[in-house]
């Protein structure tokens, strides 16, 4: 349902739902949202509103969309059958010469307040994305960096869709790296590693050890303290 809203800043377009320009980025965002899901488990797009900002040779779309999650009755997949669930998501999709890159995806229950764009604290963490204009050929640059990553770590992906998805994850991880770097008070340098194409969930599930959260398990006797020499 179109929800007219007045523009927030002179140079930004008003939320303009009727613009066919939104169709392609909205569909791309939905594909990325549903990536890896079996048929019948995919969410469908509800209401969409968006605005566009010209950046370099492309356009940066900011979308707010409701995603209708399908009911989940498979006892193997979910513990409790869930009736239809609606999530409110905000996406940022860069379209450069027809090539889409998903830069941001934030979703939450409909009643969660979506962070306001232009929130200074938020934007201060994303200097890369807040350069105005975005670096020229941002997606081309990111694709080049991603190709280097693939060559360095000998990465291959089976399908074009998988490659597209991993580029999206890689790009999002570059944003996460900036946050982690900004919040480290030591001398550590964070950046591209062999895990840069994994989502946080994948990394946690594959490489980390959730059992450790339950504490140290069986009690061991304390070590004798070292008598100073």
């Amino acid at each position: 349902v179109p929800v007219p809203a007045k523009p927030r800043a002179d140079d930004e377009q008003a939320w303009d739902l009727s613009s066919p320009e939104l169709l392609a980025p909205a569909r791309f965002a939905l594909d990325m949202y549903n990536y890896g899901r079996a048929a019948g488990m995919r969410a469908v797009l509800g209401t969409v509103r968006g605005r566009v900002r010209r950046v370099g040779r492309g356009s940066l779309f900011s979308l707010e969309a409701t995603m209708e999650e399908p009911p989940c009755n498979d006892p193997l997949v979910c513990l409790l059958p869930v009736t239809n669930k609606t999530l409110l998501c905000s996406f940022q999709v860069l379209d450069e010469l027809g090539k889409h890159v998903l830069l941001r995806r934030d979703c939450g229950p409909v009643n969660t307040k979506v962070p306001e764009y232009g929130n200074e604290t938020f934007s201060s963490f994303l200097p890369m994305l807040n350069k105005d204009p975005l670096p020229q050929d941002f997606s081309v640059k990111m694709a080049t960096v991603f190709k280097d990553f693939m060559a360095t770590y000998n990465r291959t992906y089976e399908t074009k869709e998988e490659t597209q998805w991993r580029l999206t994850v890689f790009t999002r991880n570059m944003v996460r790296v900036q946050k982690i770097q900004a919040l480290d008070r030591g001398t550590a340098q964070y950046g591209i590693t062999k895990f840069s194409d994994l989502t946080e969930e994948e990394f946690y599930t594959i490489y980390l050890n959730p059992l450790l959260r339950n504490g140290s398990g069986k009690k061991m006797r304390p070590a004798k303290s070292i008598n100073g020499r």
Binding site: P210, L212, R213
Partner: protein
């Protein structure tokens, strides 16, 4: 404790290993500790088998995770550890194929260490590398340098990765722990992670332990 210490320079640490796509960090942390204890108490550095723990330590969950305290108990009950060569790493659980005759090392006990990082340093310098468990915040993208994440982001209550302390020191006045990880040599500083020392960063002092070899 001495101002700095590094067991790598004293021959007590084997090469950096790679756990692969498996949550078996607990096994690598424990074998690294037992390798150090065996070297310091029996004089020989042997590279020991993590696969034996994945397959035969029924208290833990192989690639789904495990606890060092359980692993020490399993090594004692099994009767020891085989070498890496005799029971090589596969990166997924298989049927237990342990043979007591092939075991090259044994342990007598295991102990829990103090949570005081100065005492931990003193213990490490005198007794050997220490098995610890930390919050792995930021490690997915760590490249080099001394990590010191903000405490709320690297909470000591959300421990999720077991590693091995092999030394400590200072780099331009910043105190650090030298940590042997098990993600291969093409991660971090040749496979090592350096974490700020003295503030309980990422819970490094919450689960320090060691095997005991008489």
């Amino acid at each position: 404790a001495p101002p700095e210490w590094d067991w790598r320079k004293k021959g007590a640490v084997t090469e950096v290993k790679d756990q692969g796509m498996c949550g078996s960090c607990w096994a690598f942390s424990v074998t690294g500790n037992v390798e150090g204890q065996w070297f310091l108490n029996r004089g020989t550095l042997l590279s020991l088998s993590e696969q034996e723990l994945l397959d035969c330590d029924k208290m833990d969950k192989a690639c789904l995770g495990g606890l060092p305290s359980n692993a020490y108990t399993a090594i004692k009950n099994l009767g020891g550890l085989e070498t890496e060569d005799d029971y090589s790493y596969q990166g997924h659980v298989q049927a237990c194929n342990f043979s007591a005759q092939r075991a090259k090392v044994y342990i007598n006990d295991s102990v829990e260490l103090s949570k005081n990082e100065n005492k931990m340093a003193a213990w490490l310098a005198q007794k050997g590398p220490i098995s610890v468990a930390i919050n792995a915040f930021g490690m997915q993208f760590y490249r080099h340098g001394i990590a010191r994440p903000l405490k709320p982001l690297c909470s000591p209550w959300l421990i999720d990765h077991a590693v091995l302390l092999v030394g400590y020191g200072n780099r331009s006045k910043t105190p650090y722990w030298a940590i042997k990880n098990s993600w291969g040599t093409n991660w971090g500083e040749e496979g090592y992670y350096y974490l700020y020392r003295g503030s309980g960063a990422c819970g490094v002092n919450t689960m320090a332990s060691s095997a005991v070899v008489n």
